[in-house]
Symmetry: D2
Subunit: 141 residues, 4 copies
Amino acid sequence: MKAAAQTRETFRFPIRVYYEDTDAAGVVYYANYLRYMERTRTEWLGSLGFDLATFERGHGIAFVVHRVAIEYRLPARLGDRLDATLALVELRRVRMVALQQVWRDAEMLTDALVTVACIDRTTFRPARIPPMLHRRLEALA
Amino acid sequence: MKAAAQTRETFRFPIRVYYEDTDAAGVVYYANYLRYMERTRTEWLGSLGFDLATFERGHGIAFVVHRVAIEYRLPARLGDRLDATLALVELRRVRMVALQQVWRDAEMLTDALVTVACIDRTTFRPARIPPMLHRRLEALA
Amino acid sequence: MKAAAQTRETFRFPIRVYYEDTDAAGVVYYANYLRYMERTRTEWLGSLGFDLATFERGHGIAFVVHRVAIEYRLPARLGDRLDATLALVELRRVRMVALQQVWRDAEMLTDALVTVACIDRTTFRPARIPPMLHRRLEALA
Amino acid sequence: MKAAAQTRETFRFPIRVYYEDTDAAGVVYYANYLRYMERTRTEWLGSLGFDLATFERGHGIAFVVHRVAIEYRLPARLGDRLDATLALVELRRVRMVALQQVWRDAEMLTDALVTVACIDRTTFRPARIPPMLHRRLEALA
């Protein structure tokens, strides 16, 4: 799966580390990588032509994270310029799995598999990924 | 106004400083005092018998912060046990002003005047503070 | 492993959901469960007699999260009163694994295995868990 | 002072609103504007040729917020593309005041005066703004 992160299908989004991201150990606080990864998913969908907020409202759905398996390898620090990458590694009718990593130049700092489920905004029950997006994702996966 | 913080009408809520609250300077990140103050407002309303989430939904309103004037005097640090205090210093039909401070024992670390407005949840326009709460607050102000 | 969460060795810490914890989907933002879990680890060590900030400084070490496998089952909402639980499921010389869950009454909302490593504060390299703490943890695991 | 925000000396930095920024009221959580403003100060210094983290370490100083007077006029929402602006309105030996605003197109959402003090990183006592930066700022104020 990690190989996927090196292919041309990998989306890349720049992240700058500000004080807000760090903690008293002098490094990025561990929960904040999940914020970076959510930004990256939003920008990735945007790069495919889907504005997340508009799309979710328009289809009465929301994408929610169902599972994260994340490994913290090296710490990021104040002022770092990072790259967050995303590669779609699995696509189902109601969910998808993305490999999301955070890099500082050639060093991989964090590595995660994130399972995102599509739900109905009102009932919070699983819902099909809207077909126009699903077709666009199939072309990638 | 500061005298008010010493009277028996002052509400007090304990805060513990965790890694999540700190930044790379080794102290509590400045925006996080606003999180402490919002927790304190919620718990203060709770202490008066009003569960914020239920009350807002039930009356179709929301309380939103309109203005904050905050002074940072001394830094809080990882592991600190703080007290957040709140005293109502002004009450109008659609808004109120609270004096909110954060203390570490006898040291005042942060001092803020927070103006909270009542709005209609749907239109986001100003709305009267529901009478049952307004009467309860009048007894304090 | 999940059975361990039901034994008397499970630590339990109350969490209240405030506006700061929620997002525009009306539920607790996914990264914030990691903040809840870090608070819980700090309070758990405190309950064993170890003040985290003092202990880390005193021994020149820090505990850092190395890996998280988290599953989001049900959403928590504004105003919820939750219980965060922690059970130590594995103890090594330089790291430990905790089963951490978040409950609303009898409903398990979130379920995570969190691997925490002990590092040298200066070099950020693996370090032995200080013996006095390690012995205390052995009695639990 | 607000006029200053329209002059060519005003720095402008784009902000995108993600789920992490919003709360259950469907709008950006009030404390998060302070995060936006801190990012903007960092990028503003960067635009003047000073990398904040490197500069602070190199001079043994840190910039800390001493006072904020912020007014929340209109809410920002999920997916919004905002502009954060900064204009230096006062410069002293150990501190400066910035007018910081957040805009959505021609609408001003938030308006703040932020006093930033220069302190010694070790003692946390006031320190002079390093001359090379002070001179650069004088040219702006």
